[in-house]
Symmetry: C2
Subunit: 182 residues, 2 copies
Amino acid sequence: MKLWLLSALVALLCVAAVPSSAEAAAAGEDEFMQTAIDEAVNGVGKGEGGPFGAVIVKDGKILVRAHNQVLLTHDPTAHAEVQAIRKASALLGRFDLSDCVLYASCEPCPMCLGAIHWAKLRKVVYGATRYDAANAGFDDSYIYEVIQGKAKVLQVAMEHRPGSGDDRPFALWKQKTDKTQY
Amino acid sequence: MKLWLLSALVALLCVAAVPSSAEAAAAGEDEFMQTAIDEAVNGVGKGEGGPFGAVIVKDGKILVRAHNQVLLTHDPTAHAEVQAIRKASALLGRFDLSDCVLYASCEPCPMCLGAIHWAKLRKVVYGATRYDAANAGFDDSYIYEVIQGKAKVLQVAMEHRPGSGDDRPFALWKQKTDKTQY
């Protein structure tokens, strides 16, 4: 066999054996989602919290994984996404996670969606929805309705009491020269 | 002076000296709000975070106070309200703060409003607004617009990828007999 023909055959075999980058990314994304779901299952099994899991991915690899720990910690903010963001920020030593992607077993609630924005995450991939969560007895969908002005009953009374110096913190912030805006 | 007249005078003096319960509550509420504002000012002074403070009140007394510590901790979720909720929950050993009231120097962002709902707080009193926060460079108002479907630009891409076992955690949760719903 001529050398050029052998080379061409080897090249063809390599192309066929190695998945495209798109396929590799999709396979990775499936793994990330499965890990998030496994986290949720593990959390329920341990009795640490509700059925929710999340992973944060950086440079194509899982950086941290977390599940809901509200029952274990007594911290009502210890949702899977918040726990993952806290872990990732602690690990990287920065609040800015704009180079990371979050995979969640379920659509983030408004608290977690807010946390995702503050962490500057650019992308979120989620499996189940707020309606699946509602069907399991969780208030995600209700809190969305409150913020959207669609809730018929308000569980939390919000009282705006302006004045009496509430502009002092902002005035101080604006005149601070060495501040880090986040 | 006759005894009944003296008694009546003493009673009148007592009524005049002791504020009504409404006045006492109002004075207390002013103190709570001032403490929240002072926390915000202290936090900025120490360089620990943005210009936001909060207190949680239980049985008419301040249980915990907190300020934003995003810059100190690198935790993007370390807003004043979230920090206060975490402290109060740790102190009381429960995620349910339905017997508490939160005072915040500024209107809670969607993340904090979500946390407030998950903590089952029944009342929030706030001073400055989301628009004051926006004026100082914070995204509170923007995140409200995202959730309300009013944002013109979406900073976070949300990708719904259903299926592939994302119902497993909920199925496990529903069949769990010893669970605590929160």
